[in-house]
């Protein structure tokens, strides 16, 4: 084996570990998904690849063992064997064994993974005693459902939402609710159902399963199910029917009117709506169908393996280069805007701007990966740990499609593992304790990710016992963090757990509490420019919210000026710009407030913050910003306009300057500071609080 080219071998190991991880995830996912034929297929392919390439590299032990596992999954795939929980358990153990074999092969030692023989025996037993079961493992097909319930269905106790939920369990589902039939408010009868729905669903269960969902509805309700993509077409081309064709198939537009418009050469949907031939909802719903089928076909194509492996360093370099390009582009745009610039240059600059923006988005997008993969990895953790501790814990996730920079996700792993361990070990009680407290025996750990303005918020919550405020307080007093007689609210006490070396757990277990405290978690998150918040209710559970900025290399900003200096505000934080006249300022009696459409907006002056001398103009501009749901005004002399900027880090010396998150070089070579709106807003709030306290 030593003769093998190391490079190939490395790639093999890299690939094998990846397939193994995917195999494990699939096994864990299978338990929570009703329709698992696609997952079984994926698991089978992972095994097959490991087996095949293992044999090519002379790893016979690995190849032989994987073959046994694969044999079992072949039966599952062909519907001859049902994938039960014990089988999934066995498969996970087999996965561990494969990992062990890989580790040994990579280290180049003798195989000393003993579990092998026993596992092979267990697998053989399963594959030979297979009680045949017909699986529903057909190819996924896509159906269109028009569900127009009778208006009195509420009085029959039918809840359409439950029907939709049932459909969702069958497969990937897009739902469009038509609101066209809802009358004006004064004619509205709240007891009548005026909605109807279009549902596009991709499932392997077949049309009968869909029809069963609507079993209890009588003839007055219209339920039409059409097959629109039977999934058998292996063509990679993701193209789907034209909008007009979809509408006429559905009977939403008759073919005669369609003929009239089809040659109009404009966007047919808009035309049809404008002419009153069909309702805009119907067009939107048809567009949804188009999208759904395209995506379904694209994912089928992706299944067939159209991806390429690229070292991360190359991507970093690409992003850097794009960053530089954006700066140059900004300079050219500036130049083109000057009065004596030729119109030709102006149009070229515009073109260049468009292309750079697209290039930027694309190259940044390459680095973004959905956080779902990380979430999935924790499934195993939760499962293993809860088993170890004799607890019954399920993990639910939400927003797994939220994308974050790959490096951010990688560095987020350890803090998350730590938080989840804490939840499982200290947070969620033993089943008997839970039952005694009137809670379900099974605990839940919920992971969610979502966008919040320029940030991504990741929440880890459990429904355990919650934090013990008294214990934390006592510990904090003991460690001299707070005075014994200080009165603190829970909101002030809970963050103390982020202090170094803080653990309220009475005993040290295998799982957590090994002296690595939540302070490490907090530091890890802060190193990513994020913040961590903790909230807890006794008996109900604990939630830790991690807010991460999308620390991308390039941002869209708003360029402003104050006292001849340029500043950039991140565009996501900017809501609107309003004028502040001397008069307005005088009327607020020295307080920094302005009345914006009958609501009070606190504001601050950039001039004062940065101590810029000179007089402000008669009319200042207030940029209304919103961060974390809080609106704050920032008064500047002049708003220059939208500006795409490359963030350059400030040196170490300036890192702690409040209110600035970075700098950028402008087209004319000057430096503009990028404002940290979050910090500015916090400063305004604390000023306000002081002012209130001082009254």
């Amino acid at each position: 084996m030593a003769e093998q080219d190391d490079r190939f071998l490395n790639t093999f190991f890299e690939e094998a570990y990846e397939h193994l991880a995917s195999f494990e995830n699939t096994m864990l996912e299978i338990e929570s998904v009703a329709d698992n034929s696609e997952l079984v297929g994926r698991a089978f392919r992972s095994l097959h690849t490991i087996k095949g390439s293992g044999a090519m590299f002379g790893l016979d032990d690995l190849s032989r063992f994987t073959h046994e596992v694969e044999a079992v999954f072949d039966l599952v795939r062909n519907g001859k064997l049902a994938l039960s929980r014990p089988l999934a358990d066995l498969a996970l153990k087999a996965g561990d064994h494969i990992r062990c074999l890989l580790d040994v092969a990579r280290a180049g030692g003798e195989a000393n993974c003993d579990a092998g023989e026993a596992l092979v025996a267990a697998l053989k037993k399963v594959s030979t005693s297979s009680g045949a079961r017909k699986a529903d493992g057909a190819d996924p097909a896509t159906y269109r459902i028009r569900f127009a319930p009778a208006t009195d269905i509420f009085l029959k106790g039918v809840n359409p939402l439950l029907l939709m939920a049932e459909l969702r369990e069958l497969g990937r589902c897009d739902v469009y609710a038509h609101t066209d039939n809802i009358p004006e408010l004064d004619a509205l009868d709240p007891e009548s159902c005026d909605l109807f729905w279009d549902i596009i669903i991709t499932t392997t269960r077949g049309i009968d399963a869909i029809k069963d969902v609507f079993l209890f509805l009588d003839e007055e309700s219209e339920v039409r199910v059409d097959t629109i993509d039977d999934g058998s077409s292996s063509e990679i081309s993701p193209d789907y029917k034209k909008l007009g064709a979809i509408l006429s198939e559905r009977g939403d537009v008759d073919s005669a009117s369609l003929e009239q418009f089809i040659n109009a050469r404009k966007k047919i949907g808009e035309e049809l709506v404008a002419a009153g031939v069909t309702a805009s909802g119907k067009v939107e719903s048809a567009l949804m169908e188009q999208r759904h089928v395209r995506e379904a076909r694209a994912s089928r194509a992706a299944e067939q393996g159209a991806s390429i492996r690229v070292p991360l360093a190359k991507l970093d370099q690409l992003v850097n280069l794009v960053g530089e390009l954006v700066i140059v582009q900004a300079r050219i745009s500036r130049l083109a805007q000057e009065s004596d610039a030729s119109p030709l240059l102006a149009s070229m600059a515009e073109e260049l701007e468009r292309l750079t923006a697209e290039l930027r988005d694309n190259s940044l997008g390459i680095r973004m990966v959905p956080i779902g993969g990380t979430f999935d990895r924790f499934r195993r953790l939760v499962r293993d740990l809860s088993g170890e501790l004799g607890k019954d814990i399920t993990m639910t996730t939400e927003g797994g499609e939220t994308e974050l920079d790959k490096t951010v996700i990688e560095r987020l792993n350890d803090p998350l593992v730590h938080i989840i361990r804490n939840s499982i070990d200290h947070g969620i009680e033993a089943p008997d304790t839970r039952e005694a407290a009137g809670k379900p025996r099974a605990g839940t750990v919920h992971l969610s990710a979502s966008h919040s303005g320029p940030n991504v918020v990741i929440e880890i919550s459990d429904d355990g016992a919650g934090l013990n405020a008294d214990a934390i307080r006592a510990k904090a007093v003991e460690r001299g963090l707070i005075a014994a007689d200080s009165t603190l609210t829970n909101a002030e006490i809970f963050p103390l757990v982020f202090q170094p070396g803080f653990s309220t757990a009475n005993k040290v277990t295998d799982v957590s509490g090994r002296g690595v405290g939540m302070d490490v978690v907090k530091r890890g998150i802060e190193s990513l420019g994020g913040t961590a918040k903790i909230d807890s209710r006794p008996g109900e559970g604990t939630t830790i919210a991690i807010t991460l900025p999308l620390t991308l290399a390039i941002i869209d900003g708003l360029l402003v000026e104050a006292g001849g200096e340029s500043f950039v505000l991140p565009m996501q934080t900017v809501k609107e710009c309003i004028e502040l006249t001397r008069n307005d300022a005088a009327h607020s009696h020295g307080r920094r407030y302005i009345n914006v459409r009958d609501s009070i907006l606190p504001y601050m002056r950039l001039r004062e913050w940065f101590g810029i001398n000179g007089n402000s103009p008669d009319i200042e501009q207030i940029i209304v910003t919103e961060v974390g749901g809080r609106r704050t005004g920032i008064a500047v002399d002049r708003v220059v306009g939208e500006y795409q900027t490359v963030i350059k880090k400030l040196g170490n010396l300036y890192q702690d300057v409040e209110g600035i998150s970075g700098a950028t070089i402008m087209g004319n070579g000057n430096v503009a500071l990028i404002l940290d709106v979050r910090q500015l807003a916090a400063a305004v709030e604390s000023q306000e609080n002081e002012a209130l306290a001082g009254r």
Binding site: L155, G157, V158, L162, L163, E166, F216
Partner: protein
């Protein structure tokens, strides 16, 4: 109130079987022995769903469905009828009265739970 299901049947064994299955699945169960008993118990408690037999003394299932549909606090709850294969006409009558769906006797616990999940969640 979500999570509470009333089971109406004059046969104690069916009531117990259905009640046991539902309780095991985490639902609260109220039992009633016939339509009249059900109506009087509904006056004192709010339930989220009703499962009723059709042939019962005092007040039958169809009548019960009508009563429930005209009771402001239970108007919109899902109602499932327990029917037998031979009762197709009855089933139609029940649907017309406002029943949401039906389960054909005899049924397995899984089938019952599937229907409850379908209409009640």
């Amino acid at each position: 109130m979500a999570g509470k299901i009333m089971v109406v049947d004059d046969s104690a064994s069916i009531r117990q079987l259905v009640g046991f299955t539902l309780k095991n699945a985490g639902y609260d169960v109220v039992e009633a022995s016939d339509g009249r008993d059900a109506v009087s118990k509904l006056g004192g408690t709010r339930v989220g769903m009703l499962i009723t037999d059709l042939n019962m003394p005092n007040m039958d299932g169809i009548e019960l469905v009508r009563k429930v549909r005209s009771d402001a606090s239970h108007k919109f709850i899902p109602i499932i009828m327990l029917t037998t294969e031979s009762q197709d006409a009855k089933k139609q009558e029940g649907k017309a009265a406002g029943a949401t769906g039906w389960i054909v006797k005899p049924f397995k616990p899984d089938q019952l739970l599937a229907v409850v999940k379908k209409v009640f969640g």
